[in-house]
Symmetry: C2
Subunit: 335 residues, 2 copies
């Protein structure tokens, strides 16, 4: 097999078939995909179907703790899981820049498989396009995902109520700082790793303990601040968080100081914001903490009704400030 | 709203919300999408679920008869329909090059909606990413689609049997020639238009008339020749087609002569190859021809068992030649 991707690998002919047979089928290997029809045929369990998509353009392709393939699987799995769905099947669409080494594509495909295995999902259908050198940046991946939501689950961004508690499942900001440092070629003694993980296992534990979770959302692009603003607006409530309770690693806090970032706006790829009735806050916290992806979970705030649609931060020294949605962007192409 | 796409339109913050509110929601407008959750919640009718994806990188974005948005809807609808599924829901992922005029994105979104309306599908979930100028080429779109296949339908690439008839639903090659001429800036007196259309309506008519269709496949990249080879290999049969019966427009045949293309390898975006038992060939033909997208349908060949996996063409002067899969590519980025 040629060791670099050629335009003809995307033209639908022999070379494309070879690429599929030598890279994608061995990596994703499952009986649905292996039938190689134009569409995957699936038997879904009872419940509502959930459907989501994300494209991934992260730069660089590999970074401490992950790569674009792991991100493409975890991100879409998490978008299903935060709706209370059980993620089942993924599609994968690859847009490749001519000249990409085939070995890189193979490594990324196997990384996708590894993440899919951990999440318990199958990659059942896919597509490959190749564009001329200079018309893309190495590799972009789109994944779409199908899950099934049990009938009794009803999780909506509009469900927060005054008196509810706000939790986050662990340290914030790791992903964006890891990608930023990798992009700039900065190596630390103890590197900050991306938190890119599939959250469906932990969320299952949470939902078993607290079936009436009101809201779950993963604070990806735009960070905790932007996601909380979306929730405050959707639910027409105030969300107040406490700076002292926010889980931020010392290394991430230091990097933020050096580079002028605010951890509240940093993207995460393995965290979930959880809003539950106050009386269940401790049960939810304990459930999250029993899972290895939720060990640093914390109760970080509360829902009130003073200023519908607004988010406030009580600072460590007791001041209060409005936390707005992200206006511009801290860093492009973090996912 | 700024008139060009900025990096911040992809960063998850205020500008992204504005782009969604001012471009995508007005275009795609439907109750599932408008809920703006991280995942669409769907109630699927009974049957097996079908799931497919394609990315679209066509250059130029607009061409006679279509645009990248129309293509992105029709292509994915057709990949579901040729499996005998009823297409229901699409996702849409946009990868945008910084600097793209917002008006172009809006036109393409409305073109997607128009095609989706014709196909009777809803665009229910989406994603937007923006990459720096020079790191993509204006716009790439991924769509994934969900359909439902009635339990009695069983259409597989491995189902062709000796004695079956091979049909195609109309003129071949229009799409690739239309895109090629648009890319080169060549204008003809009577322009050749892309055939990009949703085929699910016509296929429904066909399946009502001939429920035991053995195979349907849309000959997109790689053209009729490559798709027939895939089917001959999957079914382990010989497929023999007759040059005199192939529907090719005079203008397309002329363009092929001038530019050195073979119509058998040209991509189509609104045609389907149909294989049926010989005794149902005429019924299938008539069913296709009653639909406006199948008026030029023709019986073009037959399935035999002489050389499993091979495709032959009987030329107009009575010669016989092997038709291989496409080896390289005729033209990159045709879809």
């Amino acid at each position: 097999m040629d060791d670099k991707i050629l335009l003809a690998h995307g033209s639908g002919g022999k070379l494309q078939q070879q690429l599929i047979n030598e890279v994608f089928l061995p990596a994703f290997d499952n009986s649905v995909l292996n039938r190689m029809e134009d569409q995957a045929s699936l038997v879904l369990p009872p419940g509502r179907a959930a459907f989501t998509t994300d494209s991934y353009v992260v730069n660089p392709l590999f970074f401490p703790g992950g790569d674009i393939g792991r991100l493409a699987v975890c991100g879409t799995v998490n978008d299903l899981a935060v709706g209370g769905s059980k993620p089942l099947y993924l599609s994968a669409g690859f847009i490749i820049e001519e000249g990409l080494p085939v070995g890189i594509l193979r490594d990324i495909a196997f990384s996708m498989k590894k993440a899919a295995d951990e999440a318990g999902v199958l990659i059942v259908t896919g597509d490959t396009k190749v564009v001329e050198k200079g018309h893309a940046d190495q590799l972009f991946i789109n994944t779409a995902g199908i899950g099934v939501t049990p009938d009794q689950i009803s999780i909506r961004a509009s469900s927060a109520q005054p008196g509810d508690a706000v939790l986050v499942s662990g340290y914030i900001g790791d992903h964006e700082i890891a990608v930023m440092l990798a992009r700039e070629g900065i190596q630390l003694k103890s590197p900050i790793k991306s938190d890119a993980v599939p959250l469906n296992g932990m969320i299952q534990v949470l939902l078993s303990a607290v079936p009436d979770v009101r809201i779950m959302r993963d604070p990806t692009r735009g960070g905790l601040a932007t996601t909380l603003n979306e929730l405050a607006q959707s639910s027409q409530v105030t969300i107040k968080i406490f700076e002292k309770d926010l889980p931020v690693k010392d290394e991430v806090a230091s990097a933020c100081e050096i580079f002028g970032f605010d951890p509240l706006y940093l993207a995460n790829e393995g965290k979930v914001i959880v809003i539950v009735p106050q009386r269940q806050a401790k049960t939810a916290l304990q459930a999250l903490q029993t899972h290895h992806y939720g060990q640093q979970a914390a109760i970080i705030g509360e829902v009130t009704k003073d200023q519908p649609g607004k988010v406030y931060l009580e600072t460590k020294i007791g001041g209060m400030r409005i936390v707005d949605m992200m206006a511009g962007g801290q860093l492009p192409r973090i996912c």
